[in-house]
Amino acid sequence: MELEIRNICKNFGEKEVLKGVSFAASSGKAFGLLGRNGAGKTTSIRIIMNVFAQDQGEIFLDGKPIDYHTVKLGYLPEERGLYPKKKIIDQLLYFAQLNGMKRQDAVTSIDYWLERLKMTEHRNKRLDTLSKGNQQKIQLVTALAHDPQIIILDEPFSGLDPVNAMLLKDVVKEEISNGKIVLFSSHQMNYIEEFCDGIAILNGGQIVLCGDIVEIKHNYVRDKLAVRSADVKKIMQDQRIGGTMQENGELLIQLKSAEEKKEMMRLLTQTFDIDEIRVYEPSLNDIFVEYAGKQN
């Protein structure tokens, strides 16, 4: 399956929220939708979820316009919340039935997911008696119980302790290997790097970067050197070199261009006592800051 978003535009009143957003996500892989607050992520997600219609553009599933009567979508919203005063099983059943399940199938599926997420003991409790992390796991059940083909997870890891985060990772990996289309939205780049093959970075309602993470990193301008050395201070004081100290103790040197690499390496190794020198591989975080940070 392939979910393709083509040239989606959306205005709210005078405000242009999405200006031609396109990306594609395929089953068996996770896709990361990144962007700063207000970049248009939630609007994009809501359009994909058919909450409101786009002004322009189309959404395709396997090359055909998506039919919301047959395709099931699961959604974990960033703003979590269910009915705090109601029994957990009651509201899980409610949402599963709203998503088109028969009552009996819903019970079976919900019980499976509660077991899988180690929440069975809370089945008949009121939601507000649970801790925040556990409430979030309950909410995850609403996104997964009806066995959706497309799963959209907005900041799924925020608020989870490491053990629960681990559990969620396993679940997500499982879903990906079950051939689901998983759409991730997060500010926690380490999770994106861990799961996602493809990413799209939204900025000001436009996709500013889209593609495979490995390729993106590889094609990223390799104009920085990472240096480990006992002479770090001397290097920094050197007019020809400069550089900034990283938290991990490495010195990051900005080259004028990528071609300057060899020359700069020679200069460094000849002048100073160098332990390690390599071309700096940008992290997803760096890429995000560069692309999403630009104001346009």
Binding site: G13, R46, M49, N50, V51, F52, L73, Y75, P77, E78, E79, R80, G81, L82, Y83, P84, K86, D90, Y94, F95, Q97, L98, N99, G100, Q139, T142
Partner: protein
């Protein structure tokens, strides 16, 4: 449609499971049971008391406790006759003729020894002394009547008419019959009042509940998920219909139990015509009641739901629904004032009975307490039905826009735009 069913069921279940809802209903039924059984209970206990009182000691003790009326008759003729007359007029009091001075009489009243005093200046003039004049003190009226007939009797006898003839003249009674061509307002007032009040309570109560339900879903952010799982129109209609049914069930329970308890105690209520009239309400009025209840409920519930969707926090709901509540209360007031004044066909009521927001109450009152041509009723209901559809449609639009808006509530302009768009 399936989603509507699921939502309707869920909302309905939460009403039934709501302890306040079930508690209030049970309490209402209980109160009605107590009221309806009250005459039977008091009679059961009262009967016992009478038996005790038949003992002679108790009876005389009761006589001692009787309140005293002092009568000062100094300087008027026919003093004996006046004394007799007062004793007959106030059989439940001990009437004592006294020669005490005015100050003494006043002291006695102040001390509570006697309840009141009539100081006669002449047969046609007296001063009534009492410590606290109660709202329900009709003694002067009774005395006036007794004295005037005494005076007339006296005057006629002086003019040579015999005592028997004078008595006959005075006691002549006029008989009359009333043939009512329309409605008997005295009889209809009670049930119309009860019905209008029930309509008022249910609409306000459930309207507010719909609004706060929507606002709760928004503030708890359950809406974020709901909106992706269900169509806003199904959500809105499911909620409103469920609350309509819940309100209806509550009404049926309360009035049904009242009717049932009345049937059980019918013989004990036979003396009170008003109660009987309530339970002998004509069937066609019940049908009108049903129609106006459902339509009136829907139009307000839709609006309350739409308003609920525009607020982000539960605290804001009261101020947001204020204009709507005001509108409704104003309509209620007009109807109530017209009802109590007896002028149910005044110009205000005429207008109100066609305005969809007031017609459920106003038209029902006019039907119940006046004579309304059928075509007027049909026009009023037709306007109401059309308005319910239009308001439902507009409310769904507002709801669609409102549910995902957080922060400052939308301006009226934005709301109108959403309705049109």
């Amino acid at each position: 449609m399936k989603q509507f069913g699921t939502i309707f069921q869920f909302e309905m279940k939460s009403y039934i499971k709501n302890k306040i809802f079930t508690g209030v209903t049970a309490a209402l039924v209980l109160v009605i049971a107590v009221v309806m059984f009250f005459p039977r209970i008091t009679e059961a206990f009262g009967g016992g008391k009478e038996e005790d009182a038949s003992g002679g000691a108790a009876a005389s003790a009761e006589a001692d406790n009787q309140a005293v009326i002092l009568l000062s008759l100094s300087g008027i003729e026919n003093a004996d006759l006046v004394g007799q007359c007062f004793k007959q007029t106030f059989p439940e009091y001990t009437v004592t003729v006294s020669d005490s001075s005015l100050d003494e009489i006043k002291d006695k009243i102040a001390a509570g020894e006697v309840e009141c005093a009539f100081v006669m200046d002449s047969l046609t003039s007296y001063t009534y002394y009492v410590n606290n004049l109660s709202m329900y003190d009709h003694k002067t009226a009774a005395a006036d009547e007794a004295l005037s007939s005494l005076y007339r009797m006296d005057a006629m006898m002086k003019n040579g008419i015999s005592a028997e003839a004078a008595g006959e003249i005075l006691s002549a009674e006029i008989t009359h019959e009333t043939e009512n061509m329309g409605k008997d307002q005295a009889k209809n007032f009670a049930y119309t009042y009860i019905m209008i009040f029930a309509l008022y309570m249910v609409i306000l109560l459930y309207g507010q509940m719909v609004a706060s339900n929507v606002a709760t879903e928004k503030s708890s952010r359950a809406m974020e998920l709901l909106i992706t799982s269900a169509k806003p129109v199904s959500m809105m209609f499911g909620k409103v219909m469920a609350s309509c049914l819940a309100g209806f069930i509550q009404l049926i329970l309360v009035f049904g139990s009242a009717a049932l308890f009345y049937q059980l105690n019918k013989s004990y209520w036979s003396g009170i015509g008003m109660i009987a009239s309530v339970f002998n309400m004509p069937i066609h009025l019940l049908v009108y009641m049903l129609v106006f209840f459902v339509l009136g409920f829907l139009i307000y519930a839709f609006l309350f739901g739409a308003i609920g969707s525009t607020v982000s926090k539960l605290e804001d709901i009261n101020t947001a629904v204020m204009p709507l509540t005001m509108l409704f209360v104003a309509g209620f007031m007009i109807v109530m004032f017209s009802m109590t004044s007896g002028e149910v066909d005044n110009i205000g009521m005429l207008i109100c009975s066609y305005v969809p927001f007031t017609s459920p109450m106003a038209m029902f009152t006019r039907i119940a307490m006046g004579t309304v041509p059928l075509y007027e009723v049909i026009i009023s209901i037709a306007i109401l039905v059309a308005s319910v559809v239009a308001v439902g449609y507009a409310a769904a639009k507002i709801y669609r826009m409102g549910v995902l808006l957080y922060g400052t509530p939308p301006k009226l302009k934005a709301i109108l735009k959403a309705v049109r768009g």
